[in-house]
């Protein structure tokens, strides 16, 4: 059979997982190919270290492969993968800390970090002022500036788009802890972006 036109079949996660569980390595490779970018990005964002992210990427798929039989299909395969990746990434993060105490555990909630300092409207399309690389750099830097406890929750919920419940499960946190960290992360990021994206000059207070 030969054809000059190849149409990629639609990505059917459940079918690929079933095939991979039955020993089909090609199916597993397709799953890897489909999710490697996102796992790698997430690993970089959580560990903030390229080398660690490479290890996390590899460990995640190796573990997924060797524990494939344990995947029961109660959650989406991707959610299961993210759980493995998050654990690997957090281990890396802990190892990097000389005192071994990454504040991934409950930060003391004084309510002081629920803050709004910058109150200014944004330009209409502030993203357009930057090249894609520049914008990517800005967003990466903003995420890097968050405490690991907030960063991890934000990455899972707002970038990887896991639900609040899935995020809580992946991190072993309560729903209310996820929500409280998410609020802080979102407000801190808003603060950082507002400093860059706010409307300048006389228009800045035009909303009043």
């Amino acid at each position: 059979m030969s054809s000059s036109i190849t149409i990629a079949p639609p990505f059917d996660e459940a079918e690929l997982v079933a095939k991979a569980k039955a020993g089909d390595h090609v199916a597993f490779s397709e799953l890897v190919e489909h999710y490697e970018r996102r796992v790698f990005r997430m690993a970089k964002q959580i560990t903030q270290n390229e080398e660690d992210a490479e290890d996390v990427l590899q460990e995640t798929f190796l573990k997924a492969y060797s524990h494939l039989e344990d995947f029961q299909g109660n959650s989406k395969f991707y959610t299961w993968l993210v759980r493995i990746a998050v654990n690997e990434a957090l281990m890396k993060l802990r190892k990097r800390r000389s005192d071994k105490t990454v504040p991934l555990d409950d930060p003391i909630d004084t309510g002081e970090d629920v803050v709004v300092r910058e109150i200014a409207v944004w330009e209409d399309d502030p993203e357009q002022r930057y090249s894609r690389e520049e914008l990517g750099g800005i967003l990466d830097d903003a995420i890097q500036g968050l405490k690991p406890a907030y960063r991890t929750v934000f990455v899972l919920r707002d970038i990887e788009e896991l639900s609040i419940e899935e995020t809580a499960e992946a991190l072993g946190l309560s729903i209310s802890a996820v929500k409280s960290r998410l609020l802080r992360a979102r407000l801190q990021l808003r603060e950082k972006l507002t400093r860059l994206f706010k409307r300048k000059g006389n228009d800045a207070l035009a909303y009043l």
Binding site: R38, V116, L139, K179, R186, L189
Partner: protein
């Protein structure tokens, strides 16, 4: 009406699809009357949008090669483990 402090505590919830309609209505009432909180709400919404649109770059080729090599090795090992023992005569 919500105070600005209460508004801030509920703000994150506002962006969840599962938000309680009563909470949503309270927030909307507050931002309609409080210009500062309107700005905070709008810029938070836009912050989330910018991050959701973040690009996801391809894995660098060298990294991908290492990953594939590691997987191939694991697959080969599993195959070797699964296959029946060779019997020497």
């Amino acid at each position: 009406m919500l105070t600005c402090k209460q508004f801030l505590q509920e703000l994150s919830e506002y962006f969840e699809e599962s938000v309680d309609p009563a909470v949503r209505a309270e927030i909307e009432r507050h931002v309609n009357e409080c210009p500062n909180c309107w700005v905070v709400c709008d810029t938070t919404r836009r912050t989330l949008k910018v991050f959701k649109g973040m690009e996801c770059h391809a894995v660098p080729e060298a990294v991908q090669r290492k990953l594939l090599a590691a997987l191939e090795k694991a697959i080969a090992e599993k195959k070797g483990f699964d296959s029946p023992q060779r019997v020497d005569h």
